[in-house]
Symmetry: C2
Subunit: 162 residues, 2 copies
DNA sequence: ATTGAAAGAGTCTCAGT
DNA sequence: ACTGAGACTCTTTCAAT
């Protein structure tokens, strides 16, 4: 099991380097990335194919500045449930609200933790008051509106041995 | 200012459709996306170029299943500061910790809100105890470990008028 | 603004090492 | 496994509408 990192395939340093590089910029050509990592473009291609087949790489996503699209409000919501057994049914209801972009079941103070993206405070208020409060099983919520995003970045990936 | 959505360029329904589609899958060819949206591949190209020049589209990112790379622990950290004026200096220190992938300055209970990705609980414990507690200005922290990610998705983008 | 076609660049396959 | 070259596909440019 040496060198294993929670997956079935064996990944070496080059695989991690490719992932790290392309997490930030997936548009770089295989030839250019190969030059940067001192292998041929063909090798990059083979590695990425392996990573896709293993399900580690799931494709690429457009990186969009949603503020410029009019989405000015990001907030985090701590959710208290009446009973923690209600998790699945409440999660199902929360998924119906498109403004909620992420939901985690967490340890600690709150039962669940959500992230919400809205165009403005009015829309946030509507979701919190008119939609969330109607869901059976939610005892109460605490909202943390983001006044500033200091940074958001990708995790620095390394082999287990490093 | 009609039709404006927080940016300088005017975006129509097609622009939003392109963004929505490619936020989920940036690998689709212009020809195929054009077919889906009933325009030519050339039109898709022109629109994306416009969006890039406006800074709305910032490129593409590889979508990676980090659990398979051995990163099993996601946690959220609510941070209490001794004085809220310490925000900038504390943010600078937090940015030095690569496991912290996101930091927001927030309203409500906490001064700041961080997200952290670690390989295991031991590494999380190390960051929380050995690294965070050493930063001057942090009064205390509350940690919420994610036991399950119910869902994570892109925001549904629409024009202001819709 | 949109289109379609030609030129240029990148991906993918495969035989050789 | 890695490489490099050829086949193929996609992006990019541009003249016409």
């Amino acid at each position: 099991m040496q060198g294993q990192t929670g997956t079935k395939v064996n990944l070496d340093k080059l695989d991690f380097q490719i992932i790290q590089e392309m997490m930030g910029n997936a548009e770089i050509s295989y030839a250019d990335l190969g030059k940067k990592l001192f292998v041929s473009g063909g090798t990059i291609h083979v590695r990425i194919k392996k990573l896709e087949e293993a399900g580690i790489v799931r494709g690429t996503k457009l990186n969009v500045d949603i503020k410029q699209l009019g989405y000015d409000v990001i907030a985090f919501i701590g959710i208290f449930l009446e009973k923690s057994s209600l998790y699945d049914t409440v999660a199902k209801e929360l998924k119906k609200i498109p403004e909620i972009v992420r939901l985690n079941y967490t340890t600690g103070n709150y039962s669940m933790f959500a992230e919400i993206i809205c165009k403005n405070i009015q829309q946030l208020r509507f979701v919190l008051h008119d939609e969330l409060q109607k869901i059976k099983g939610i005892e109460r919520t605490e909202t943390f509106i983001s006044l500033e995003e200091s940074f958001i970045r990708d995790v620095r990936v390394t082999k287990a041995s490093e």
